[in-house]
Symmetry: C2
Amino acid sequence: MSEKKAYVNYGSCQCGCGCEGARDITGCRFSLSPMTDSYVDIILGAIKKVDTSKVWKMTDKLSTLYRGRRIHVLDGLKACFVQSYREGVHMTMGATISKGCPGDVDADAFLAEDDVRMNEPVLADAHFPVTCKISLYPMGVSNYMEYIASVVNRAIDMGVYAGSSHYVTILEGDVQDIFRYFEEATEYCGRELSHYIFEATLSVNSPTAE
Amino acid sequence: MSEKKAYVNYGSCQCGCGCEGARDITGCRFSLSPMTDSYVDIILGAIKKVDTSKVWKMTDKLSTLYRGRRIHVLDGLKACFVQSYREGVHMTMGATISKGCPGDVDADAFLAEDDVRMNEPVLADAHFPVTCKISLYPMGVSNYMEYIASVVNRAIDMGVYAGSSHYVTILEGDVQDIFRYFEEATEYCGRELSHYIFEATLSVNSPTAE
């Protein structure tokens, strides 16, 4: 008695092998976690307020996903985060920003042609402190630590670096500076790397002392 | 006028270069997010209940970190997750399991010699459904998609695979089966890869319909 299982097969794909069909698509999968009884209203309220006309979007049980051009994806991510901020409410947001996965397909994305950020005008005046951990995973290259060092040093240059810990780099700064850093870091990664994953967890209003 | 900045320099480290000082240390950095006003009590209560006598531990503003032998690190992770479960309370746990980072040091770990899991006896009877997303990042190898496929296919074999989506694989199953899968997946990765990162986000009691 044999059973045929529908296994996946990514084995023929390699970094830079040319079978990527999604070279220009940056994606971001993120989850908001407001630690309050009213988390549903906060999350759904924020997601509704975001202008997503320049990204492809999907929300499932675990996260919301934006795909499209890098600047518009980051604009949407920042909008969701800022719109869900509540004074005194502890919240984290886990975000996976990625580009160039060999298993990706040239679909589920909307590549708007212009550079006008749809949400930035209403976000520009938001200011609150953010603590953040980031990890960069440059795929398919043996010298990946060099790229990680470049991205960490960019945080030092921009004044948001707060230290290194096991598996992550810690950032601290105003929400505007943190997202400005995400812009620069992902611009660098998208230019220099065939496939990268940039993981970030942002935290506000943590009750934990330093 | 010149300013000297304390930049990081990971550039001389490469995967398998031999400068790793932490070959046997598996680490897990995780964050619990119970979405309720009583999140502090739940998190601190759970962390306190875990027997951490066989791992090195640290809690900072962003996460808790266990380091040591793989089985004891996973035992502690499972204990924290199970102990913080509350009927009807939506909670997520983000966990980064890693081994072999070239920038890691042979410190901040406790390598217990025996295989007796300290928490498992009180966890074995816990049963509740978990939805989970996972991503594996095998570092420093060009054929990394093969390893990812192996790990995803193991989930299919074990009956916890629920589908693939952009950037992640979705798992669904009883908490015991999900953690049994983590055991097998990280055993495989630790054996086959010089440096890997296994990211998982577990979710319980989500109000979002399928």
